[in-house]
Amino acid sequence: DQQVKQNSPSLSVQEGRISILNCDYTNSMFDYFLWYKKYPAEGPTFLISISSIKDKNEDGRFTVFLNKSAKHLSLHIVPSQPGDSAVYFCAASEHGNNRLAFGKGNQVVVIP
């Protein structure tokens, strides 16, 4: 049972434009959300996170929005750069649980 869902598995965007990645979750107990970035043949690296007490967190070109009522979060990358081309994973956890639930990932291709 997939508790974290990432639809639209791939996204192509022109350099300089905005990339928007969406993530839905089913477990209402999730209270911490993370985005990871993964290049081929490498381990994922942490990108940005958000706690359920917030609805927005910004770090440079990356912003994550959380809509708890809709059980939905999104990652915005502005402006997109060719180096952003990677697979992005959405992940979630609930307090007291040592495990992260991951989505299937979104492939982003930024066209120069």
Binding site: E42, N97, R99, K104
Partner: protein, 111 residues
């Protein structure tokens, strides 16, 4: 600073052969340790996690096992590999927060 080492980077094994992947963490004590697998076209699936020496939790029934003989060492094993065991295996650690730090991964091809 903390670092995580995982090896080998790539591995090609025949069906029925054994497997041993090793992961070590440096610069931290009593980390939570994890083994994930990314199969072709799939997301990251948690296989095992450990909160301490000798403590292993399995997330899915499978042909694999894990062991934690030392505080910062995590081993993934199989006695007999199956074709379906092919995939990209990732070791990870976490501390008090739920932020995971991943190793560089092992691409396993079972032929």
């Amino acid at each position: 600073s903390q670092t995580i080492h995982q090896w080998p980077a790539t591995l090609v094994q025949p069906v029925g052969s054994p497997l041993s992947l090793e992961c070590t963490v440096e610069g931290t004590s009593n980390p939570n340790l994890y083994w994930y697998r990314q199969a072709a076209g799939r997301g990251l699936q948690l296989l095992f996690y450990s909160v301490g020496i000798g403590q292993i939790s399995s997330e899915v029934p499978q042909n694999l096992s894990a062991s934690r003989p030392q505080d910062r060492q995590f081993i993934l094993s199989s006695k007999k590999l199956l074709l379906s065991d092919s995939g990209f295996y990732l070791c990870a650690w976490s501390g008090d927060s739920m932020m995971l730090f991943f190793g560089s991964g092992t691409q396993l091809s079972v032929l």
